[in-house]
Symmetry: C2
Subunit: 433 residues, 2 copies
């Protein structure tokens, strides 16, 4: 499927993708909706204002202002059938063989207004996030980190293969790619092995990233009602990359018995473009096998329940040297997002449009030697080893001035479905008050 | 301080209180702001529309529609100096010796419109809650429950006296008093002591309440900035009672290693009237002594850092018999809300207007025999004993049709500062899908 837009073969944003995001521009400074195509965005607010919207996008006849909204929530709330119609129509408008060339391809005036280079737009957080839940479905990560925190005997708790373990995260500190991340201060034990448990308050010395996939909810469920496993797919809007920045020393001291708190709530970065659920459909694969008999509410019809996304993590030093420190497939999950949704709502918890679910850190079976670690905690074996970087530099944990960039892509050159960058730079901790 | 409104001496809503809430009425069906006074509410939207607002409430001159909003967030965001001026002015308008009798006391037309019996109004959730965090500051509860889950050696983790332990709760399932609570289904172990960890999915058999105090945030902090302990008080809007409904069998199986999840996220009930921080000031007392040397960021100037609220829990059976099963003082906290705020923001986590903090379950030193348990888990020693009820009934955990009502009040008859009821009735679990 070729486009009349000039799209580099290596672009994440081929005609097969059409991810949705929130932009602002010098002409339209209020945040509003766009899609990415090659090195451009198609400004859907501008497009909608210049066409016969109900005729071109029939499913939006009653929602003429949905692309003028400052978040994607209103569009997401319309449901997957509408997302499908809108995405398919945009694909047609941008296709070399478009059935309606007069709308955009051959309309130079509108093209000039609506097709804008990405470097000229500012990206915003794509959704208003009511609640953010982080799961723990990356089996290799859960096992390796479990060994470090609790030893091999208790690395995975007995519940791990029976249910997708998760916890409530902090919605207010979810930020869009590019937002500065300030090194948090917190209570830490300088000598965790000592019997004397005397913490001190200092900037974290063990700042880390976590490579995750994020999933946004489209269709809500009522409080008291659960979402069945085979309906769950229909509640999903789309996916982003997610960096669950973590302070390991704060985490180790605070997390018992109620889970991570200040070690996680200082910042969580998501990529700006929401890849719609439909766009990832062609890349389904089986996740990590789980031999434990599942409860009925977690049994899926589809065996291929996760996505073969090629994920990678780049670390850029303050000096500007970039090293790809991990390459991992998105198939390394033991639980799928539909399973997470079915479990989350089993007791009647209401998921709302815009809610964010994180997969948990995705690491591969190759571990540290294979370059398949979704966190430095794993790659450095808890800070015992060093990760080698370009420029003869090394890291155990992140330094001030480091930039972490997550990437993810599916499909061949020319028809790639990718996420764009999920990037954050670390700034020094605030001065103590 | 007497009022020209006829206020029963035992009312929670004396002239010393003036709590804020969100109501709707048959004449004004859109939710909007009111205060409670005796058995009435004073409809502030109606009041504002019928007076010279900037003259009477000078601090609201630039905010003429703040009482027409569907939540208290806009009012809360104006900050404590404004809350104080508005509350003081309302106290004056309602006082027998009001300095402006013509506004309300002697204005029968406006009185008829604005002073409405509480039974004629519907109450709504007072705030739009972005994030909800639940702490664990009730020392007696933490210790007693810790013994049950982990034995006396590990009842309290080493961090407990060093920092206010907390976790991120679920904002979407926070509901106002009176909202039905559906018994959740979940994964449970029928025989937790067995080595075979084979869960089954069923309605919880161990549904419980938790008596807590809730605190709403007024003034936000920027991401990356912390709130210092002696500024924290200025970030507080006010307080409510909070029932953190809990499914103990689901909790025991799911909570390691990331904390409670489905055992808590099916429903959290708050009382509808927000008692402003100023109204509780006269009732300050010292909390539970903590002999551990504190980190500087947790050291408060005020020794009297919690409130002497007389809390109680009523259980009403499906047959209608009511028993007060606990009476506990709010002084039984080891950490204050300013300490919780200072800790929560230590690493730069942004708290937003409307965010809700829970204290954790408040239980007294008297334990089960003293009727000072803020949960059935404690009162029944994990289901080993029975709580005696009126009507020759007993409970280990809650039955379908039971109603739990939390109450809390400070001060003497005629000048009470109370919260009103925080009530929820349990309905049967949904049929399995």
């Amino acid at each position: 499927m070729a486009s009349w837009v000039d799209i580099p073969p290596s672009s994440d944003f081929s005609l097969a993708n059409i991810p949705f995001g929130i932009i602002s521009t010098s002409d339209e400074p209020d945040p509003h909706v766009a899609v990415a195509i090659g090195i451009y965005v198609l400004d859907l607010k501008v497009l909608a204002a210049n066409i016969d919207l109900p005729k071109i996008f029939t499913s939006l006849a009653n929602h003429p202002h949905v692309f003028a909204q400052p978040t994607l929530n209103a569009f997401a709330r319309l449901g997957r059938a509408v997302h499908r119609e809108v995405r398919t129509t945009i694909q047609d408008l941008l296709s070399s063989e478009t059935t309606r060339p007069e709308i955009l391809r051959d309309n130079e005036t509108l093209r000039q207004k609506a097709l804008i280079p990405q470097r000229a737009v500012k990206m915003h957080l794509p959704m208003a996030i009511g609640d953010y839940t982080d799961f723990y479905a990356g089996y290799h990560h859960a096992y390796t980190v479990g060994v470090m925190f609790r030893g091999p005997q208790n690395a995975l708790q007995p519940n791990y293969t029976h249910l997708p373990v998760g916890y409530h995260g902090r919605a207010s500190s979810v930020v869009v790619s590019g937002t500065p991340i300030r090194r948090p201060r917190g209570q830490i034990l300088l000598d965790p092995q000592s019997d004397k448990k005397e913490p001190q308050t200092s900037p974290t010395r063990k700042l880390d990233f976590e490579l995750e996939l994020g999933c946004f909810i489209a269709t809500p469920n009522e409080m008291g009602e659960s979402v069945s496993i085979n309906e769950a797919e229909q509640h999903i809007f789309g996916y982003v990359l997610l960096n669950d920045w973590s302070a390991r020393d704060i985490q180790a001291w605070e997390y018992v018995p109620l889970g991570p708190f200040n070690s996680k709530n200082f910042g969580t970065t998501v990529s700006p473009w929401v890849v719609l659920a439909d766009a990832l459909e062609p890349f389904r694969v089986r996740g990590i096998e789980n031999t434990t008999p599942l409860q009925d509410y977690l049994k899926e019809e589809k065996a291929e329940n996760v996505f073969d996304i090629q994920l990678e993590v780049d670390l850029t030093t303050p000096e500007g040297d970039t090293t790809t420190i991990a390459r991992i497939s998105g198939r390394n999950l033991m639980w799928s997002f539909p399973q997470m949704i079915a479990h989350h709502t089993l007791g009647g918890c209401p998921l709302q449009t815009g809610d964010l679910l994180g997969s948990g850190t995705v690491s591969g079976p190759g571990g540290a030697s294979g370059g398949e670690c979704g966190s430095l905690l794993e790659a450095t074996e808890g800070g015992k080893k060093e990760v080698m970087l370009a420029g003869m530099d090394v890291r155990k944990f992140l330094k001030d001035g480091d930039t972490v960039t997550l990437r993810g892509v599916c499909g061949p050159d020319g028809a790639r479905v990718g996420f764009g960058d999920c990037r954050g730079r670390v700034y020094s901790a605030p001065v103590s008050k």
